[in-house]
Amino acid sequence: MSGLLEEKGVFPFPEVSQDELNEINQFVGPLERFFTEEVDSRKIDQEGKIPVDTLEKLKSLGLFGIQVPEEYGGLGLSNTMYARLGEIISMDCSITVTLAAHQAIGLKGIILVGTEEQKAKYLPKLASGEHIAAFCLTEPASGSDAASIQTRAMLSEDKKYFVLNGSKVWITNGGLASIFTVFAKTQVVDSDGSIKDKITAFIVERDFGGITNGKPEEKLGIRGSNTCEVHFENTRVPVENVLGEVGGGFKVAMNILNSGRFSMGSAVSGMLKKLIELTAEYACTRKQFNRNLSEFGLIQEKFVLMAQKAYVMESMAYLTAGMLDQPGFPDCSIEAAMVKVFSSEAAWQCVSEALQILGGSGYMKDYPYERMLRDARILLIFEGTNEILRLFIALTGLQHAGRILTSRIKELKRGNVTTVLETIGRRLRDSLSRTVDLGLTSKPGVVHPSLGDSANKLEENVYYFGRTVETLLLRFGKTIVEEQLVLKRVANILINLYAMTAVLSRASRSIRTGLPNHDHEVMLANMFCVEAYYQNLFSLSQLDKYSPENLDEQVKKVSQQILEKRAYICAHPLDRTS
């Protein structure tokens, strides 16, 4: 973000050894067969629940503990493998969501911050699927706002139990689960003696008593998954069941939420690949005006869009998974968020286009497209709404950049003459010449020469983005938190840059190793980079002050007028004054 590209992390594209690949392919085969033959997605969608025998089969395949370490009975697979399996599970979205709620957030807490006793006590049953886990954080009055959580946990007099009171809403697996990761407010004595309310995470078993469910909610999509309210009434939780430390629940929640996101990329790409197959089958057989649908340009464009988005999603997801698998617990929360935002929006767009290719029949319940469209809608909302994640991406990035640039900005503000002259000189040079060379394509470049143009575009974007970030920090400083429209553009640029990097990295590797159809990949990569480059240029121009493309002022004014009257205020087109 400061205008430099760090190559070590992203080039070359992370690879998996042949043994691991063989191992995972052993899983993939039976799993695919199971999902194509035995899972009836239509029936699950109609009835609103997953049949018990399907769940049993999933348990027997070990899918309830993919990331649980082997000593506790799980499969112990790495993030990359998890992503790979996610591609197949995504054939049925309700099952995906149920499994994700169970392992990506439900029991992740225990794996990340649980003590040995807690792990030994709960993980084996959870991994085998005997108990299902759920993640209880959202309440009616607090979605992203952690400070307004009303559920309280009071320490009992003998300091052995916490008494939990409160209710949580929209909990996936709420009806099926027996183990809940609950977040509640507790009173904590600070280091300076003041008593504050802080959030603590608890592992709560249904056997502790006092836990009731509401009825399962009727949803638009993912109807097979069980979503309901969970009420806790004087539930006694032993002190040993506190996850992490008392008062440290906020960090636990953040870590859990940030770690589960990247798998959405591979899941969606799996769904898209299936979708391309089905739709292409239709487009190549249906004839209108004595031509196949596949010969019409508009249809071809839709297929290219789907293929491109799937390619980018895969690249980003596996790049992130590979980075996460590096030893040392790297923090890839921004990258995971970027993957989530990109893939959820691409999913909505592509499924809509696929439905469009089918025309009227896509709209009928006989075909799976409408079900997939409804299922894909939730992707933009859960695991952090896309708007919030954009703010997260932008703010975390700006924080990071701000620290690096802080010395330079302080000097500029103080009016240090040399710094000012330096900046002005750099700006002049920028405005005169456009070619930027950050070393991606020089010899020996990490990017293959056939992707050279795209790499140049990426470099240029990165450099100018760095300049713009510096200007933004100068202009707004700390108050940039409130400028959400600016942050949205910054986030969009960042997502595009990361996508370009992932795509270039993967395409270079494909060429260098000689994977099949690498020229197709090169074409997809170049196309995507060109599109992303121009989108970035537009966003960058919108970020300038007083630029004609920047409509923020007008947006603020118009929205204020609309929201003042809480209605559409224009006169009807047919109105007359006399």
Partner: protein, 432 residues
């Protein structure tokens, strides 16, 4: 000197001379022309807007030796007390019956215009058309170009303009019948016709110009009027109007417990602000402030507090762990640059928070105390806050009962504190 300027000069001269001649000759006190020198060429030509010129004040006491206004009896002779459209039209028609030649029609029309509000017909287009009908037709139309240069029959044209002026003032839109009448009477190239065209354009343009429109017919019931005006004042759409006290129906016999109505309004933001208010600082009940709605003046009171002084302003505590998804506060050391700082606005003067508004039938402390008590139900913290009543001395406009006017408390703070202590004692008694 262009022909336009010549025309204006001629007009001014003719008016000035005509005025002088007229006051000299006639004794009728009706058209009391204020003697004005003919205006210079550089003033605006439109001098018709001068009220005193067109509709003379009828309020000057009649000198006993002057003849009373001609035709006045036409308007007074209708059935006693019944002043409505029928009697007005009857009076207008009877003018025509009395003199076939329509002598003194200009004065009659001026008189009728003045009488319109009494009869309540000032918004009625058909009445105006009837009034224009009083003019003899075809007589005042200019027939050759000399007549067109100079204002032909200036008195009558001004009278026509006066009718149209009154229509404009009351927001009545002229229609095709008016147009036809004007063409018949004055011709197409006359000042009334010009004004008519302007009215047609601008009245339609200005119909929706008020961003906060007040309905034409204001409710007669004071309770409804109060609710309407409170909603009119309050920008927040989530504000709630509460009726704290209804006035007793007027036909209640027996003792005279004057129970004025009390209607209050408060929005949720104001409620939250009042809950946050520091109990050691007083809040003030101020009023009554006038609010004009068309031609009605209503009075309202507000509950406000002073701005908290800068040292005492609590820095809002930002919880450290607030948002699960993104950092609400960036850990950077520099703040916004001066070029992007839009906070300071010269025109906006920060004044203290206003917590609620009310309208009451009476403007004395006793009624407002009831208001405060009613407010305490939804704002329990108000019980701990000292309330000081700063009610202005009643002016002539206030239509309150005279006995309560005398009791309205003066402005001085020591008296206010006494009352407020008395009020606090009252509250404590009420609560114990």
């Amino acid at each position: 000197m262009s022909w336009v300027q010549a025309r204006l000069l001629a007009k001014g001269l003719s008016r000035g001379w005509g005025g002088i001649c007229r006051t000299g000759l006639s004794e009728a006190p009706v058209a009391q022309v204020s003697l004005r020198a003919p205006r210079g060429l550089h003033c605006s030509a439109v001098t018709h807007k001068d009220d005193t010129w067109l509709i003379p004040q009828p309020s000057e006491p009649q000198k006993p030796n002057k003849v009373p206004v001609v035709h006045e009896e036409l308007f007074g002779s209708s059935a006693n007390g019944e002043r409505d459209k029928k009697s007005f039209t009857h009076a207008v028609r009877s003018f025509g019956e009395h003199n076939v030649r329509k002598r003194g029609h200009v004065d009659f029309i001026y008189l009728a215009l003045r009488k319109m509000p009494e009869f309540g017909v000032e918004r009625d287009l058909s009445v105006y058309n009837l009034l224009l009908d009083v003019f003899p037709k075809e007589v005042f139309r200019p027939r050759n170009f000399i007549q067109r240069i100079f204002v032909h029959y200036p008195r009558q044209q001004e009278c026509g303009l006066a009718v149209l002026d009154q229509m404009e003032r009351h927001g009545v839109m002229p229609d095709r019948e008016t147009e036809f009448l004007l063409i018949q009477i004055f011709g197409r190239h006359s000042y009334p016709m010009l004004k008519f065209l302007r009215m047609k354009l601008w009245l339609t343009r200005f119909k929706n110009i008020n961003p906060y429109p007040v309905p034409r017919d204001l409710p007669q019931d004071p309770l409804d009027l109060a609710k309407l005006s409170l909603r009119h004042m309050e920008p927040d759409l989530s504000a709630k109007v509460t009726v704290y006290q209804m006035s007793l129906p007027s036909d209640s016999t027996g003792i005279d417990p004057i129970q004025p109505h009390i209607v209050g309004i408060q929005s949720p933001d104001q409620q939250a602000a009042l809950a946050r208010h520091n109990p050691s600082k007083p809040v003030f009940v101020e009023g009554p402030f006038p609010l004009w709605l068309r031609n009605k003046c209503v009075y309202y009171h507000i509950l406000r507090a002073d701005l908290p002084s800068p040292e005492e302003e609590k820095v809002e505590e930002i919880p450290e762990e607030w948002n699960l998804y993104y950092p609400m506060q960036l850990d950077l050391e520099y703040s916004r640059s001066g070029w992007d700082n839009y906070e300071f606005d010269v025109d906006k003067v920060t004044e203290g928070p206003v917590f609620a508004m009310c309208m009451a039938g009476a403007h004395d402390q006793a009624t407002l105390v009831k208001w405060i008590q009613g407010l305490q139900e939804t704002n329990p913290t108000l019980a701990q806050v000292p309330v000081i009543f700063r009610l202005a001395r009643s002016t002539g406009e206030l239509l309150t009962i005279s006995r309560q006017e005398e009791q309205s408390p003066p402005h001085s703070p020591p008296k206010g504190q006494e009352e407020d202590e008395a009020f606090q004692a009252q509250q404590q008694q009420g609560q114990s």
